[in-house]
Amino acid sequence: MTSAPAPIKAKLRIGDLVFSRSAVFAGSMILVTLAAVAIFLIVQSIPAVVASSEDASILKTNFWDYVGPLVFGTVWAAALALLVALPISIGIALFISHYAPRRLASVLGYVVDLLAAVPSVVFGLWGIGVFAPALVDAYAWLNENLGWIPLFSGTPSATGRTILTAALVLAVMVLPIMTAICREVFLQTPVLHEEAALALGATRWEMIRTAVLPFGRSGIISASVLGLGRALGETMAVAMVLSASPVITFQLLTSVNPNTIAANIALSFPEAYGLNVNVLIATGLILFVVTFAVNAFARWIVSRRKEFSGAN
C-alpha cells in the first residue's frame, strides 16, 4: 500500500497558509476600504455639519434641518419598497422552487433574474414614461374611496410621480436580487426535512411553513438586508421618478413628497460648489449611518435564534 509512513510532525502547509492569509487579507481589505470611505466621508462632512446657511447656500437653517426630511424620505421609501418586495419575492422564490414544474422553474428563474439586468436609468425612464402615468387613475380612485386613511389623503398627483410610485419602482428593482437569494436558499432545503413534514400529512403550504421557511430564515433576512441596502441607496431611478420636496409627510399620493438622500445628492451635486458639496457628502454619511442601524437590527434578529438556524 503506501510507502514508508510519513512523519506525523507538522509541516507548514503553504497552500493552507496562503489560502487562509489571503482570506483574512480579503476580509481586511473590506475593513480598510470601508475605513477609507468612512474617513473620506467624515473628513468631508465635518465642515458641513457645523455650517450654517451663510456658509452653504443650500442650507435654509442648519445641516440637521436640511437632512431631517431626507432621512425620513429615504427610510420611508425603502420601507415601503421592502414591504411590497419582501412578500412578493418570497412568493416568486417559492413559486420557482416549490410550485412551478421543474423544467419551467429554471426558465422562470432566469426571467426574473433578467429584471436585475435592467439599469436604473431605464427604470427611471420607464417609471416616468409608462409606469407613473398608468397609476394616475388608480391613485385618484384610492384617494376618492380611501381618502379617509391619512396615507391616501391630499390632492392626488396629476402625473402619478409620487413616493408610492417611487417605492414601487424600487420594489421592482430589488425584487430580482431578493428573489434570487430566497430561491437559492429554498432550493437547498434538505429533502429530509421536507419529507418529514409531508409524511406527517402536511399540505404543500404546511410543508413550506414547517420545513422551508424556517430553514430559509437567515437567507430571507440576508435578502432583505441586500434589498433594503439597494433601496436605501438607489439614486437615479428615484431622482428621475419622484416629485420631491424637502418635506416630511406620510401622504402617498400627492405631488409633494419627501426626497431620499441618494436622489437628493444626484439632483443637487451637479450644481453644487464650495461647502454645498460637503453638505451633500455629509448627507451621504448620514445614509451610511442609517444603513448601519438597519443592518445592526437585522443582524440582531438573525443572531437571536442562532442555534435553531438549521445550519449544521
Binding site: S20, I88, A116, A117, V121, S222, L226, R299
Partner: protein
C-alpha cells in the same frame, strides 16, 4: 387524548373512496378563474358604459385575477376544509406574486424593445459618437467602456468578495469575522453616488485633481459589487453540508484543498448566480461613472488614461441632454438600454451554463 387527526373531513356527500373526501374537481380552479374574470369584466363593462370611458382590459383582467384568490379560498373552504383551502390560497398567492412580477417585466420589455428597435442598425454597433450630432452615431465607445470598466470591477471584486466569504464561512471566528460581516452589510448601503465621489477623490489624490479615468469608475463599481458578491457567496457556502467537509478532512485533505475542491464546486451554481447578480447590479450604474469616469464621445481602450463612456451614462445623457431632433437622442438612449440588457442577458446565460456544468449532480 384531545387531538383528532385521522378522521376524514366531514362532508355531506357519500363518497366511495374515503381518501377522496371532498376535493374540488381538477378543473375547478380554472372554472373559478374564468368566472372571476367574467364577473370582473362585466363590472368593468357596466362602469365603462356608465362613465363613457374606454374599456380597460388590463384592469378587468387584473381585478378578475384578484377576485380569484378569495373565490378559490371560499370554495375550497366549503368543499375541502380549512387546510386545503389555505393550501390553495397560498398557491394562488404565490402564483399571483409571480404573475405580478411579470407585469413590470413585460411592460419594461415591451417598452425597451419597441423603442430600442428603431436604432438597432449596423451603424449603431460600428460607430462611436465622435463628431456626430443630431441623427446617426453609435455606441461602440460606450460598449467598450462598459465592458472594460465592469470587467475591471469584476476582476477586483470577485477575488476579494469570494475570499472574504470564504473567510467568513470557513475561517472566521470571533471579532474580526463579526466585524467583517457587519461591515459588508454596511457596505451594501454605500449609495452609488458616494462610491463615485470616493473613487474620484481617491484618484484625485494620486493622479492630480479632476482626473477621470476608467479605472476610477471600476473602483467605484467594485465598491458596490464586493458586498453583493460576499453576501450571496457567503449564503451559498453556508449551505454546503458539514458532512462533506468532514468527509474530505477525514481523507487527510488540507482545509484549503477541501474548500477549493469540495466546498466551492458544491456551491458553484449559487455562487455564479450571485456573481451574475452583482455584475448586473453594477453594470447599470450611472451616477458613480458620471463622476468617476467622466464622459466622452470617442472610443477609449485605456482604463488608466482619459475619460471613458459607458452605456448607462450614455443612456442618461442622451435622455437628459436631448438636442435636435430630440427623437434621435431618445432612439439612441433606448437602443443603448436594450443593448445593455442584452449584454447582461448573455452574461447571465453564460453563467447559467457554467452553473449547470459544475452543479452538484443529485441523482434524485
Amino acid at each position: 387524548m384531545t387531538i383528532q387527526t385521522t378522521q376524514a373531513p366531514e362532508t355531506g356527500v357519500a363518497i366511495a373512496n374515503s381518501l377522496t373526501a371532498g376535493r374540488l374537481p381538477k378543473s375547478a380552479p380554472w372554472t373559478i378563474l374564468v368566472a372571476a374574470i367574467a364577473v370582473s369584466a362585466s363590472v368593468f363593462a357596466v362602469v365603462s358604459f356608465g362613465s363613457g370611458v374606454g374599456y380597460n382590459w388590463g384592469g378587468a383582467l387584473f381585478i378578475g385575477a384578484l377576485l380569484y384568490i378569495p373565490a378559490i379560498w371560499l370554495f375550497s373552504t366549503l368543499v375541502e376544509g380549512r387546510r386545503r383551502a389555505m393550501d390553495r390560497l397560498v398557491t394562488a398567492l404565490v402564483t399571483g406574486a409571480f404573475l405580478l412580477a411579470m407585469i413590470p417585466l413585460v411592460s419594461l420589455g415591451i417598452t425597451v424593445v419597441s423603442l430600442g428597435a428603431a436604432r438597432f442598425d449596423a451603424d449603431f454597433f460600428s460607430m462611436s459618437m465622435r463628431n456626430v450630432t443630431g441623427e446617426g452615431g453609435g455606441i461602440v465607445h460606450a460598449i467598450v467602456g462598459t465592458l472594460l470598466m465592469t470587467g475591471a470591477a469584476a476582476v477586483i471584486s470577485i477575488p476579494i468578495g469570494l475570499m472574504t466569504s470564504i473567510y467568513l464561512v470557513e475561517y472566521g471566528r470571533g471579532r474580526l469575522a463579526r466585524g467583517v460581516t457587519f461591515l459588508v452589510d454596511v457596505m451594501t448601503g454605500i449609495p452609488s453616488i458616494v462610491a463615485g465621489l470616493f473613487a474620484y477623490s481617491l484618484f484625485a489624490i494620486f493622479l492630480g485633481p479632476g482626473t477621470r479615468t476608467g479605472i476610477a469608475g471600476a473602483v467605484a463599481l467594485s465598491l458596490l459589487m464586493i458586498p453583493v458578491v460576499v453576501r450571496s457567496s457567503e449564503e451559498m457556502l453556508r449551505l454546503v453540508p458539514n458532512e462533506l467537509r468532514e468527509a474530505a478532512f477525514a481523507l487527510g485533505v488540507p482545509k484549503w484543498l477541501t474548500i477549493v475542491k469540495v466546498v466551492l464546486p458544491t456551491s458553484i451554481a449559487g455562487i455564479t448566480t450571485g456573481i451574475m447578480l452583482s455584475i448586473a447590479r453594477v453594470i447599470g450604474e450611472t451616477a458613480p461613472l458620471l463622476i468617476a469616469a467622466g464622459f466622452t464621445a470617442s472610443v477609449n481602450y485605456n482604463l488608466f488614461d482619459g475619460r471613458m463612456q459607458s452605456l448607462p451614462v450614455f443612456v442618461y445623457t442622451q435622455y437628459a441632454n436631448q438636442g435636435n431632433p430630440p427623437q434621435a437622442y431618445l432612439d439612441r438612449a433606448w437602443a443603448a438600454a436594450l443593448t445593455l440588457i442584452l449584454i447582461v442577458m448573455v452574461l447571465n446565460l453564460i453563467a447559467r451554463l457554467v452553473a449547470r456544468f459544475f452543479a452538484p449532480k443529485f441523482g434524485r
